[in-house]
Structures are given as C-alpha cells and as structure tokens.
Amino acid sequence: MIPLAAPPVDAAAVSAALTETRVEVTSEFHGARIVLYGAVFTPDGKPADVVVVVRGPEQPVRLVRKIRVAGVWLNSRPVVFEGAPGFYMAASSKPLSSVAGFGVLRRAGIGVDHLRIEAPEEARTVTWYGVRDVVVSRLGADYLDWRRAVIRLKEKSGLYKVDPKGVQYVDQGLFKAEVDLPTEAPIGRYEAEVWLFRDGRPVSSKTRSLTVEKVGAERAVYEFAHERSWLYGFACVAIALLSGWAASIFFRRS
C-alpha cells in the first residue's frame, strides 16, 4: 500500500536509559556490564531500526609496524593516531549496512569504519597537478592498513565492538542493549547515543552519559602517584625498605 501523503515530520521517537550512570573502579573491579534499555514510539506502527553507540574518552595511540631486517623483527618508527575513542561499541538489531547507507553512517560516526581516526603528524598538503592543498599521508598506500590495525588491536582487547545483534527487542517497542566494559576500559566520561532509523534516515536520537571513575583507595593512590609523583616515589622506596627490615626482624626472632 502506498500512502497518499507522507507526514512532513516523522513522529517516531526513541527514549532510553542506562541501568547505571556511574561505574566505580575499586580493587575488585573486573570490568562491568551495563544495560541500556529503551522504548521506540512509532505512531504509525511501521518498523524502525535502533542503533546504540557507546564512546569512551578519546586517547591518542602510538602504533608501530613490525619489519624484518636481517632475520630479526624490529619495530618501525611509531605513528601517532588521534581521534580514537578509548572504548567504542556499536550495537544494532541488524547489520549496520542494512540500517542506513554509507554516507549517513559516516556523518553520524556509526561503525568502526567511520571513526575519525587520523594521523595528523604524518599528513602534509601538496599541490598535485595544479590542485592546491591536497592532503597526502607519509604512510602512503599503506595508510588504510595502519588505520585498520588500530581498530583490529582495539577489538582484540575488547575495547571496540560492533554487534549486529546487540540490540534485542524484549517486547513490542521495548529494547535493550548490553554494554560490556573490559578491565582495560579507560577512566573518564562515556557517551551513549541511541539512534532511531527509518528507511535509512535518522529520525530521532538520544544521548546518555556514563562515567567510569576510580573511587576510594584506588583513586587516592592514583592521584598521589600522578600529582606528587616524586614524593610518591620516595614513599614507595620507604615502604620497600621498611618491609625488608621488618621481615628480617621477624625472621631473627622466629
């Protein structure tokens, strides 16, 4: 059936919430699982697709390539990549490619292929065939291999994940997505974006934030070590000397 006139504004909307908005890193911290749940409102009853994107704080990374020189595997010069989130998850109810087109996903930054991971230090602008300010990378044709390696290595340590079955419908219009934070997940502020797509176009989105922070003794130690690092160093040595001395006293008596 073809509708006579499409509504000027799509009335569909999505709403979502996280089971936890604060993850505490204590001595027992072993990663965390947070559930994002939400509801889809579609007044006309037509199907819609939900995509959940969770991004951690951005961290530049240094990447090296192993090269073989005279039978020995060496590291190449390190390349700094910027724009890589410390954690990234894209969950949907079906593969991203069938939710929306390439351009739409790229603009919204949905999917690991659309992350803006770049190596600005390697880039330079040149004039090619009379065209000015063409950006080329010193990494040359291998640039994509490097960029893909950043994603692959992050995926291997559980920090990046694309899950085409990550959004599950629990009831009519009611969905949930699980966010698994590994132990290596960086400390900081995370953003969870929930997108509602219809006919390949984003019609509604919501953003929820989440903080991962160290608390209690872990936080105190971390701050001491980073803010008064020299004093911390002396304290560490003092503890070591004392415990060595205490052990020898203890053993002399026993």
């Binding site: 911290f29 692959r152 132990t183 070590a225």
Partner: protein, 307 residues
C-alpha cells in the same frame, strides 16, 4: 582472588603474585641477585604493561634485597666500602639509563633494546657460568683438585689511579673498576628493570677477584641503592610504579629472600652456580627468541600517549 591495580589499570590474581614474589625472592636470597630478570617476563605474561612491570618490580627488589642484606650483614659478609663505591656508580648509571630509556621509547625501539639486552647479557653470562660450573662439578665427581687459580691479579687492575683499601674483600685496588661496574649495572637497572646482580656477581668474582664470601652480600647492597634510585626516577618521570603490585610482590619476596639467604649455605656452590646459569640462559633465550619469530600481528601499540 583478583585485584585491580590502580596505576597499571589491570586486574591480576593476587595469590599468584605473592607466590611469584616468594619464588623470585628465594632465588634472590640464594644467589645474591635481584631476580628482576626472572620477574619481568612473568609479569608481562600475566598482562601487566611492560613499563609498569619493570618499574614496580624495581621497588620489590629494594624490599627483598634489604631483607637479605640485613641477613648477610649479621654474618659479616657485606663489604660496605666496596658496595658504596659501586652504588655511587649505580646512581650515575640509573640517571643515564632512565634518560636512554625515554629516548628509546620515543623512537619505538625500547622493545628491541630490552629483548637484545636480555638475549646478549643473559645468554653470554649464563653460557659462561654453565660451562665453568659444570667443569667444577665434573672435577669434584672425579675427585680432582680444582686447578690452581692464577693468584696474580691482573695488572691493569693495579695500574689505575685512586687506589683504596677494601679490608673485607682483602683488596687494595683502584676505585675505577668497581665504579664503572656500578654505572654499567645502573644503566641495565633502568633499561631491563633488573638490579644487575647477574652481571655484578660474576664480575666481582672473576674481574675484581673479591673474596667469595662477601660477593653476594655486597652485590645486594649495591642493588638496594640502584633500584631505590630507579624506583624514584621511574615514579617521578614516568609514573610507572604501581605500589599495590610492588606490595603484593614484596609480601612473598621478603619471606622468600630470608629463606633463600638461610638455605644458601646448605648447597654446594658449584651446583648452585650451575642451576643459576641454567635459569639465566633459559630466560635469555626465551626473551631473545621473540626477535626471530614472525609476530602474529604485523602491527602493535607502542607505549606512551594513553594506552
């Protein structure tokens, strides 16, 4: 029981770390070495980032060495004067080493230099010690007397200026060789995260010709000073010392070191050296082999800038 390390930001099995500390502490107490060369590879295998492993274990070595130096000093087998000269060199070396290490990390070549150092130093020293100690064991089995050592000390050792008396070691030599030895050990301490005992002990026996009974205690004394300086420098410049990791290793380490120092005089010295040589050789080869095996992934993250 898993514990989250606040600085290293990984979760590790606590009882396993205590056991590792005790094992390395025991070896350290028996042989007069810091044992760092053994611990770093195991920690990295357990998932601790290499920079954190190297710096935190240096702090553990401070504790276990203190514990065994006190035990040795009761037996009057520490030459404080010799140890002090070497420690002065160790401090200079540690400063140099931490700077060299920073530079290597910037160039992305730290892994290579660490692996090569392990392969070359541990391989050569382990190999030489193994040959020497096996010869001694074979001679003992056959009932032969040990060949007379050249009593004459090498000439270069006596031709150098600034001679000093070391009564406990029964030496009257220039301070330059022990100072140079200390500098060398200090550089290694920063780069390999070790105390340098596996270099110092043979060098003190074969180069300086010190009395064997004071070698181990003196080497441990110099190791305390060098690793303490390394710990402070690593904490201050690189923020790579995880105190929780150090404490877990220490708990086992100080106990192990005490037991080790007591057990050391129950073994025959030549078989003891053969065992140490074998351990040193194996660790060196294991670290070095990594250079020749094709990596599973052609790319890897280099430490620095975040993760």
């Amino acid at each position: 029981m898993d514990l989250y390390l606040p600085i290293a930001e990984v979760s590790v099995n606590a009882p396993l770390l205590v056991a590792l500390g005790a094992f390395v502490g025991f070896i350290s107490g028996v042989f007069g070495i810091g044992g760092g060369f053994l611990m770093a590879p195991v920690l990295v295998f357990m998932g601790v980032p290499p920079a954190m492993a190297v710096a935190s274990q240096a702090n553990h070595v401070v504790a276990s060495s203190t514990s065994s130096v006190i035990a040795y000093s009761r037996q009057r087998s520490v030459d404080w004067r010799m140890g002090g000269v070497m420690a002065a060199g160790g401090v200079i070396g540690a400063f140099l080493g931490v700077e060299v290490f920073r530079l290597l990390r910037l160039l992305g070549q730290a892994d290579l230099v660490v692996a090569l150092s392990y392969l070359i130093f541990l391989g050569v020293i382990g190999g030489l010690m193994l040959v020497e100690s096996l010869q001694a064991v074979v001679r003992r089995r056959r009932g032969q007397a040990a060949p007379r050592r050249k009593v004459r000390h090498p000439k270069w050792l006596y031709g150098l200026p600034w001679r000093m008396r070391f009564p406990r070691s029964r030496l009257y030599i220039s301070i330059l060789p022990p100072l140079a030895l200390g500098i060398f050990a200090g550089v290694l301490s920063a780069i390999m995260g070790v105390g340098g005992g596996f270099i110092l002990v043979p060098a003190m026996v074969y180069l300086l010709r010190m009395r064997a009974s004071v070698v181990v205690g003196t080497s441990l004394f110099q190791i305390i000073v060098t690793t303490a300086v390394t710990t402070v420098l690593q904490a201050g410049r690189n923020q790579t010392v995880d105190i929780l990791l150090s404490v877990l290793l220490m708990v086992g380490g100080v106990l192990g070191a005490q037991l080790g120092a007591r057990a050391s005089n129950r073994f025959r010295p030549d078989s003891l050296r053969a065992v140490l040589a074998l351990i040193v050789l194996l660790v060196g080869l294991q670290m070095g082999i990594g250079l020749f095996v094709p990596p599973p992934d052609p790319f890897a993250f280099a430490p620095g800038t975040g993760q």
